[in-house]
């Protein structure tokens, strides 16, 4: 039961990424290209996704009650550096992990991103944890 509901959760999530256009790197880059606000061709899709997703998630989390505690409460160098490196890669091609796991179905060239992404994740396991 837990496994089928996990599958259904992923299905809803993946459907949302597809419906919203988030699986298309061009839509994501159209949002990140904020110069478009002045040029008049900015794509607000990602902002709309956040407006739909965050309150829905917040409401359901509140209803769910007990939640696992955050892994850490500290602001670490890992958090700052990791997020910056992620932003660099994300900006370069417009794909983040969720879309990467589904948009190879639309264009198999995306596997040229997905496989290095998995390698990068495995590589990060080599960085010792601890207070850094």
């Amino acid at each position: 039961m837990k496994t089928s509901l996990a599958l259904l959760s992923g299905l809803l999530f993946g459907l949302g990424l597809a419906v919203s256009g988030m699986a298309d790197p061009k839509v994501v880059q159209g949002f990140l290209d904020v110069g478009g606000i002045w040029r008049g061709d900015w794509n607000p899709a990602l902002a709309m996704v956040m407006i739909g997703a965050i309150p829905t998630t917040a409401l359901l989390y509140r209803m769910a009650g007990d939640m696992p505690p955050p892994p850490s409460r500290e602001i670490t160098r890992r958090l700052v550096l990791g997020s910056a490196l992620f932003g660099l890669g994300w900006g370069l091609v417009g794909i983040c992990p969720g879309p990467a796991l589904e948009n190879w179905l639309a264009d198999p060239i995306a596997l040229t991103f997905l496989l290095p992404m998995l390698a990068g994740m495995a590589l990060a396991r080599l960085v010792p944890a601890g207070k850094n």
Binding site: L7, F13, S20, N43, T57, P68, W90, A106, P116, L123
Partner: protein
């Protein structure tokens, strides 16, 4: 602004939120995609069937949308491997170092008002905006 620009992303966002909420209700877990994938890259934990099921649901979601919309999903993506490979490495490495991606920090973390996630989201958004703007300026 067309309906595709506004309404579909909003509906998609709500669906993403429903998926994240259902994962919390059914499994008591956050729908942080990079973290779930990462679990499956190491020694598989006892909850691997649920992690794998969630991840398998993602491509199934794209197929379902193709079925519902009656057209094949089209994306526009660079075919330059010299861009795709380093970008993939950076996204994989960065999300694990920073303990979360657009889903874990940007949606789940912000939904529960985590200060760490707010900072992480601000950083990866700002850097990605800078990169895209720079590319735009150079082209």
């Amino acid at each position: 602004m067309s309906i595709e620009n506004l309404i579909l992303p909003l509906v998609g966002g709500v669906l993403i939120g429903l998926g994240a909420g259902l994962f919390m209700f059914s499994n008591g877990r956050l729908a942080g995609i990079s973290g779930i994938v990462d679990e499956l890259l190491g020694r598989w934990p006892a909850r691997w069937p649920q992690s794998l099921a969630f991840i398998a649901g993602l491509p199934a979601g794209l197929l379902l949308w193709q079925l519902l919309s009656g057209r094949s999903y089209e994306i526009t993506l660079t075919h330059n491997a010299l861009l795709l490979i380093p970008a993939g490495l950076l996204v994989g490495f960065g999300t694990r170092l920073g303990n979360g991606c657009t889903s874990g920090h940007g949606i789940c973390g912000l939904a529960r008002l985590s200060p760490r996630s707010l900072l992480a989201t601000g950083i990866f958004m700002a850097v990605a905006i800078a990169v895209v703007s720079l590319k735009q300026a150079l082209s």
